[in-house]
Point group: C2
């Protein structure tokens, strides 16, 4: 078991939680009053949510697209956000990066060294030489896109290769890449049967990042039963919009806390 | 033909060139003297190269990983670099972005609105709903990864689906996506037979972004013969390291100019 897996289990046990809060800041959705009352509305938004939920989660997942869409300011907001996350909670930088080897090395450097992420999401389409530079960071984890949560995941991921879907081939290949470093899997809660198959295939030491509950419609009970390992652990269950936009009033952080508590508890009920 | 395709053809005709210069800034490779002589070494590096080569190329391709690896400074350097590129030369932002729909929309906003790219590279693994937000920008182009230039492209892209490789299935699907907007294809020069197949399949209106000549070993003659359309156009042939690191002395920009001229001319010989 890698040091990342140990740290993830530690954060899950410390807060008795598999919940990951996705920090997808969106200027059209964050509480409008913040733009009037705050000098730094986005940072106040993310840090308030972190402060209210940090004892209820195992991880936070800043979604880089939302920060990049804010231009240079987004970079500052992202760094302030990451800095607020307690050291014993996992930071998953969700950028779905990928490129050929010498470029992938730079992305890994950006995410793991510049931004101090504990883990990153990585697209596997380019094969091992685009993934290995991420895996070379032995204390980090790369969550590889396998079965994504969106409707058109089927476009390519379901293509049949000798009676096996592409996403299964991808998972089997990722299983082999474990010799190079810590490989996690992204498997959407919106496809519970696929999630079950993938957990069986990957075994009990593989960290899963599971998006798709909440707004995207994934079922919590199935997600927990099919996504966790035999100890009811190593499934990082992400919710973004349902939690962080639970209220757009002045009680937004308390509402996020309440929603996180509810999700943590219902997940724990099924573990 | 989209306005992007017209602009690309215009830039190709204006400079009689299919060359794209890849701006992969790397602190270990840029001329060391710049760190002593310049207040702003990276910007001086990229802008000097742009100034010397701008009449010899159809496009520039900043590779976002290299800027992100420099942290907040990288964002400033990227913006200064893009600002120096003449308006009638195409800017391809190479980030290989991809995500589910609502997130992909933010990436498209970041690349096309915040950074003013004319085109972007996009990974297709998530299917159409992760790609459509890019295609919704009707005057822009999304170059979709199809056959990448790296050795392990084969890991997944060669998997056989009913006797057809995955990259062919990807290309056929991209062909259908043309109804939503301007789809280009990334097809590596390192796989010339695949390149030929893809040009036949996509037809003469499809812009190709072709990396992999130079350091990666792709053959120029085959790249030109197989990658261009019937008019000898719409193939954007990228070279990065061979051009921008042609010299690490004070003559780096002149050396880049010389290398670009050589490449432009040899490409034109085969058109």
């Amino acid at each position: 078991m890698s040091s990342f897996q140990e740290r993830l289990i530690h954060s899950m046990q410390k807060n008795n939680s598999l919940v990951c809060v996705g920090l997808d800041i969106d200027e059209e959705k964050i509480p409008p009053f913040l733009f009037e009352s705050s000098q730094d509305p986005f940072v106040e938004f993310t840090t308030s949510i972190i402060d209210e939920t940090k004892d209820l989660v195992c991880a936070y997942k800043p979604n880089l697209a939302f920060y990049e869409a804010l231009g240079s300011e987004g970079d500052r907001i992202l760094r302030k956000t990451i800095a607020r996350i307690p050291k014993d909670i996992i930071v998953i930088l969700d950028g779905k990066r990928n490129d050929i080897g010498n470029t992938a090395k730079k992305y890994a450097q950006a995410l793991f060294e510049e931004l101090h992420g504990d883990a990153a999401t990585v697209n596997p389409y380019l094969g091992i030489d685009g993934v290995k530079p991420f895996l070379d960071y032995s204390d980090k984890c790369s969550f590889l896109l396998c079965r994504t949560s969106n409707p058109s995941a089927r476009d390519f991921q379901d293509l049949q290769i000798n009676n096996e879907a592409l996403y299964i081939k991808v998972a089997k290949t990722i299983k082999k890449w474990e010799e190079f470093g810590c490989c996690g899997l992204v498997a959407g809660a919106t496809y519970p049967e696929e999630l079950r198959t993938l957990r069986k295939l990957m075994g009990d030491n593989s960290p899963f990042l599971i998006p798709g509950i909440g707004k995207q419609g994934g079922d919590v009970e199935k997600t927990v039963k099919y996504g966790t390992n035999e100890d009811g652990e190593l499934a990082v269950i992400n919710s973004s919009r349902n939690i962080i936009y639970a209220s757009t009033g002045e009680d937004f952080a308390e509402a996020a806390c309440k929603e996180t508590t509810w999700l943590r508890d219902i997940i724990n009920k099924y573990r």
